[in-house]
């Protein structure tokens, strides 16, 4: 009986994904790919989905988030943002433990306990004020630490940047019903629960408004900029803050030219690959 209920719930959740799959198939038209990147073999589809998301965002999410930012006093916004961030910190802590990074997990758990009590339910980020560092984590990062490769970059409907691995992480957590929103999902009062989820979505979008503006000011091509930033960031999260004593700059990018052309180094400066630390072979290959 219990098993049946769980199965129905899971399939109900999956059936909610079905329209999104259909949308994906619909959007997968053809866009011109001027500069194929090895990490983005589905760029043509991805660009179409990116444009869909962007149009949707400009028409709906962004105006709501902008209005919310203008109407809500700053201390209230900060409080709401910190409460959701505190919930995300708890989930980060769980993932740190799953990754075997017990030290991070304990630190993050302490952070959550401190903010939940002294910080009035997470409203005030007293832990950061006392020098505690936030270690961001999710199940996609955990899969990466367990050795799963990111796979191709993929733009998900509404959710945006992801990879096959991170998308699978989101899907698995969605099916299992475990995420940073688990405490909210446990609320029985459905209207209240949905209101909190809506506030969480608006808060998330509002917190990205400044970054969004900055990307507008500095990106030559928003799609490429966001993709490369996402891939770099995820890679850095998987590598974590662990230090390899033999290779202290383990995640430094290697800017040497990686094509087979001979190197006609007539510059008076040394090429970057010689200046880079010796073990930079482990750095991600330049695209």
């Amino acid at each position: 009986m219990d098993n049946n209920t769980t199965r129905t719930e899971t399939s109900a959740r999956l059936s909610r994904v079905a329209p999104i799959v259909a949308l994906t198939a619909f959007v997968a038209g053809c866009a011109h790919v001027p500069n194929p990147s090895p990490q983005d073999p589905w760029e043509s589809y991805n660009r179409s989905m990116y444009q869909f998301n962007d149009a949707f965002d400009k028409a709906l999410f962004k105006p709501i988030a902008t209005g919310y930012k203008q109407l809500t006093p700053e201390p209230a916004r900060t409080c709401i943002h910190n409460i959701f961030a505190n919930m995300a910190d708890l989930w980060s802590s769980v993932n740190s433990f799953l990754q075997g990074r017990g030290h991070d997990g304990v630190n993050m758990l302490g952070r959550v306990l401190f903010n939940s009590t002294m910080g009035l339910g997470g409203c005030i980020d007293v832990a950061s004020m006392n020098g505690s560092k936030r270690i961001v984590n999710d199940f996609g990062v955990t899969l990466g630490v367990w050795g799963f490769e990111p796979g191709p970059y993929v733009v998900l409907p509404f959710l945006g940047s992801s990879t096959v691995r991170d998308g699978a992480g989101i899907g698995a957590m969605f099916a299992a019903g475990a995420s940073s929103y688990t405490p909210v999902m446990a609320i029985d009062n459905i209207p209240l629960r949905n209101t909190i989820l809506a506030v969480a979505a608006v808060d998330l979008r509002a917190s990205l408004l400044d970054a969004d503006d900055l990307v507008d000011r500095i990106a030559l091509d928003r799609y490429s900029f966001i993709r490369d930033a996402y891939l770099q960031r995820r890679n850095a999260l998987v590598k974590g803050n662990q230090v390899d004593p033999d290779n202290p700059y383990g995640t430094l990018p290697d800017y040497s030219d990686d094509d087979d052309l001979p190197d006609y180094s007539d510059d008076d400066e040394a090429p970057a690959d010689q200046a880079a630390p010796p073990a930079s072979g482990t750095a991600p290959a330049t695209q």
Binding site: P34, N35, S37, T78, H81, N82, A85, D125, S128, G131, K133, R134, D210, L214, R217, I218, A219, L220, D221, S224, F225, R227, D228, A229, Q232, R233, N235, A236, L237, V243, P248, Y249, T251, L252, P253, Y255, D257, D259, L261, Y264, E269, A270, A272, A275, A276, P277, T286, Q287
Partner: protein, 215 residues
């Protein structure tokens, strides 16, 4: 006794007091802007440049209100002298750099400068929310020519932001050439965009695209 001596402006005591007061005023002014020593240890160099920039931005009402043009001007004046623009641009262009003529290289550096100023400004635009720039302990070989300085910018209302600087030792001392914000390296993030523009419209097309954004 002392007061009467002070009232008489020609006494040595009065002159001594005047010099003392003047030097105190100068000392406070100098505290706001420390001279940058590019040949110092990389950590100290970044700390001085960063603190000077933060201090200047804090004292400017326009910058406080988020006036981007003013912040860009201040970044140009207080940060850019310590940034190796040519190297940043060369590495972002990758193998295409060698295909560019000397004039194109010069124009490309000049065109990319605006983007770099806006990027560094973006990191500093929330200065009223920034409480301190903390330089983290140095890792790696202190005698190397290519080093990373890690820092943590603490905010008043949220978690600290990790910012790393990649520096190169030049004959004139240290120069910053790459910047990492929360795991994202600046040059790495422009390589694909540069290649894309060059493949479509050539190097001049890339220069035009950058200049269009500068307007």
């Amino acid at each position: 006794m002392i007061f009467s001596a002070l009232r008489n402006r020609s006494t040595p005591l009065y002159q001594f007091c005047l010099v003392l007061m003047l030097s105190l005023v100068l000392a406070t002014a100098a505290q706001a802007q420390k001279p940058v020593d590019p040949t110092a240890a990389p950590n100290d160099f970044v700390q001085t440049v960063g603190n000077n920039a933060l201090e200047v931005l804090r004292q400017e009402p326009a910058a406080q209100q988020g006036d981007l043009n003013r912040i860009n001007q201040l970044v140009d004046k207080y940060v850019l002298p310590y940034v190796n623009l040519e190297k940043t641009t060369r590495l972002a262009a990758g193998r295409y750099w060698r295909q560019a003529s000397a004039q194109q290289q010069k124009n490309l550096v000049e065109a990319f400068k605006g983007t770099l100023i806006r990027t560094y400004s973006g990191a500093l635009s929330k200065v009223d929310e920034v409480s301190a720039l903390q330089i983290l302990p140095f890792r790696g070989d202190a005698n190397a020519d290519d080093v990373v300085v890690r820092s943590s910018i603490s905010q008043r209302n949220g978690p600290a932001v990790g910012v790393d600087y990649r520096l190169e030792k030049t004959p004139q001392g240290w120069k910053i050439y790459d910047l990492n914000v929360e795991g994202i390296w600046l040059i790495q993030n422009y390589r694909n965009q540069f290649a894309q523009q060059i493949n479509q419209n050539g190097i001049d097309g890339l220069i035009d695209a950058l200049n269009r954004q500068n307007r």
